[in-house]
């Protein structure tokens, strides 16, 4: 196979931080190449250099064997390189057809828009990856998986040679991921190279022809998946061997911390019953849209259930609001930490202490800054949040560290029952394992944990029991001892 792109000895520094330390990298025509590495390993920087957003300090870039002086954004597109960022860069207010065709129309269409041509261009792009979308639908109204396809179709309107997908699956459900991977293989069949960045290692193994691993601004290795397994990949990424040890729970005499009986909410879940003992980690898994997040929202009083009972420590608890839930000793770390869990522009300290301000009051009933700083420092230290100064805005932290801040915010309320909704989505493997360790540590200290997750393997490794939710009901419960992830996966996907 011919080489499409080659990077030689690329160096890049930002304000004294050496983000790329002499990286060599090559990409062949029509290959699916995965890029893995922890946050801050340099993979985003390399993508930005390939896509022309950043210029390297030193080093050479060759496209199709010819050295390229300056890869500006426009220049990259002209060379057939397109990036689909995690945010997709779509126009939610425009139709599918217009979103797909707009760049092409801008390139070749003149000043007047021919709506017939818009549709022709869009249809042609959809045919190339054999998808059918409603051309007149407004993109903002579509599910995220479909939006992703729109973004890919848009890239296909140009003479595409390399498509860079930056964490394309972070917010997709399993079926959409399968669709996307099929599309990626289809692109490859058309001779289009795909550079695929993902934290989800099972996808990487499923789709990659070669995998390049980054760590601390250096390329560690480029290998075909056949020469790697997940453990080896993780150790190459993190530079250490992560201990893989299953969570076990043996204390049959522990008190029941939370019990739910016949809980129902219209259009969300129906007749849900389960119990959670102190010190247990119970996994709650199911496809997106199975009602698991709705159940969590009900337990935390955000959207209270209509029928059924919730018992905390054996006593009926009336949970109609978040205040009720917090009062009952329940904490909830939401799925989308960016939207629901953190005020991104506020400081780490402000976020970490947001849920316990009432305990940090000074003599005048105002928040005492010294006590707040003390509390914030405590949680930053306990959870190992990597931050130079608690006063910096949360948005400057990496995903894993942000997640720790959200967890810290709720742990500060000293809950007895902790509900974690997809706590490691978008978090790299190293941070993921740290978060898992913390959750286990909390359980060991007697907290009852409900761990909601998409990833069955996460539930199998970190919970002692798993509840499987499907179409709004709990359809199965099993202990994790001796159970393998794929067995559970089949139960999750089974049709009723």
């Amino acid at each position: 196979m011919n080489e499409f792109l080659r990077l030689e000895k690329i160096h890049k520094s930002f304000a004294g931080v050496h983000a790329l330390k002499g990286v060599d990298f090559d990409l062949r025509q029509g290959e699916v190449h995965c890029l893995v590495g922890e946050n801050g390993s340099g993979k985003s920087t390399i993508i930005k250099i390939i896509s022309g957003v950043l210029q390297p300090d030193t080093g050479r870039i060759l496209v199709e064997g010819r050295p390229v002086e300056h890869l500006g954004s426009a220049g990259t597109m002209a060379r057939g390189i397109q990036v689909i960022y995690q945010d997709l860069s779509l126009f939610p207010n425009l139709t599918v057809a217009e979103n797909i065709a707009l760049p092409e129309i801008r390139e070749r269409g003149g000043r007047i828009v021919d709506w017939g041509r818009v549709k022709t261009v869009a249809r042609a792009a959809m045919e190339r990856i054999r998808v059918e979308l409603d051309l007149d639908a407004e993109v903002g109204e579509l599910p995220i998986g479909v939006q992703q396809l729109v973004a890919i179709c848009r890239a296909l309107t140009s003479d595409l040679k390399l498509l860079i997908l930056d964490e394309p699956t972070a917010s997709l459900n399993d079926r959409d991921i399968a669709n996307l991977l099929a599309v990626v293989r289809d692109l490859q069949a058309h001779g289009i190279a795909v550079l695929f960045v993902s934290h989800k290692l099972n996808e990487v193994f499923a789709v990659a022809e070669r995998i390049t691993i980054f760590r601390d601004g250096e390329k560690v290795a480029t290998l075909p998946p056949a020469e790697l397994d997940e453990d080896r990949l993780v150790s190459l990424m993190t530079g250490r061997t992560l201990e893989k040890r299953r969570f076990t729970f043996a204390d049959g005499a522990a008190r029941t911390a939370l019990e739910v009986r016949g809980l129902s909410l219209r259009n969300s879940f129906e007749d849900v019953s389960f119990a959670l003992r102190a010190g247990e980690i119970v996994g709650l898994t199911g496809l997106r849209g199975s009602g698991r997040t709705e159940l969590a929202l009900a337990l935390f009083g955000i959207r209270p259930a209509e029928r059924g009972e919730i018992l905390v420590d054996g006593r009926p608890a009336r949970i109609r609001s978040v205040q009720d839930a917090v009062g009952a000793g329940i904490a909830y770390v939401p799925e989308n930490r960016l939207v629901q869990g953190l005020v991104m522009k506020h400081s780490v300290a402000a976020n970490a202490t947001a849920a316990i301000l009432d305990r940090l009051l000074g003599p005048l009933g105002l928040v005492d800054p010294a006590r707040r700083a003390e509390a914030a420092a405590h949680w930053i230290k306990t959870l190992g949040v990597k931050v130079s100064d608690p006063a910096v805005a949360v948005q400057t932290l990496s995903g894993g560290n942000q997640q720790k801040v959200v967890i810290g915010k709720w742990l500060a309320t000293e809950p007895r029952i902790l509900i974690l909704d997809s706590p490691t989505v978008g978090v790299d493997v190293g941070a993921k394992s740290t978060i898992h360790d913390h959750v286990r540590g909390l359980a060991a200290r007697g907290m009852a944990v409900l761990l909601i997750t998409d990833e069955v393997s996460e539930a199998v490794a970190n919970a002692n029991r798993i509840l499987i939710m499907r179409a709004g009901r709990i359809r199965g419960e099993l202990g994790t001892a001796g159970v393998e992830a794929d067995q559970v996966q089949r139960l999750v996907e089974a049709r009723a």
Binding site: F91, L102, I105, N267, G291
Partner: protein, 334 residues
Amino acid sequence: MPKDLLRHNETWLVLLIVVIGAGIAAANPAFLSFENLAGLLKSYSMVGIMAVGVLVVLILSGSPDVSFTAIAQVVEYGVAVATLAWGGNIFLALLAAGAAGALLGAVNGAVVHFFRVPTIIVTIATFNVYFGMLYVITKGKLINVVHPMFREFGSTLLFAQTSAIGGRYGLSLMPLVWLAAALLGWFILRRTLLGRSIYAIGGNEVAAERMGMNLLRTRLFAFGFIGLLSGVAAVVHLSIVQSVVPNIIVGKELEVIAAVVLGGASVFGGKGSVLGAVLGVLLFAVLGNGLTLLGISPYWYNVAIGVVITVAITNSAYQRLRRERARVHVRVEA
């Protein structure tokens, strides 16, 4: 298809206008007379022309321009003085007014672009600068006699007829200027790449920039366009009233913005249509006229407008909420 039609804000507006109009006509048949309707269109022409400009900026910025009435006020005064001094004709006056308005508007665009300040803040500031300067320079002096070209332009009638009491009435040219502005706005927004860029930037500015759209040029255009239309609207106003009271146009801005929002433009940007903006203004016109014809105090006009806007906005917010709820809907098995 009918179901599809009902999803459009414009359809509801037409229905609302028809229903309210029918109610008024039932109480006072004079509402439907050619004389009344033609007069109504004439008196709302200025608001209608401005509404097209307001729409364009709202789509682009997701924040309304509020300085356009001050621009119109300044241009109106300037044109009245200039034509008295140098004469000329109505086309020249329209051209000069449009150009001056575009320049004053483009200033807003430049400030919004280079200092990344929200449109509403920038235009509150320029509103005060423009309007304040007008008073500083003119000392608020009224102009009671304007060049006769404006009277001529304002009183030219198509399909002219004579009423029972001897007055002449017919279709004024003013609504035609409004129609021209609306058609121009529609063409730009719907059929040009520039117009689609305005929607695109309003929908996702970052993505638009990544796609290589020229934000500065688009902003200068949109703010220049509302300025141009404000200048034209000023000439229309001047031709109708044939005098200049330097604070008569300012204060109208909220009514115009409200009509545009009522017409379905999103206050978050990226959405809206010229047809909607025209219908929004027409609804206001019918409401105002109806109150007069029914002999209700004009003070109720503001109340009626407020109620209509509240209903319209809560309805669209409610629809959005419903859509969002529908998206998280879990199909619970029996």
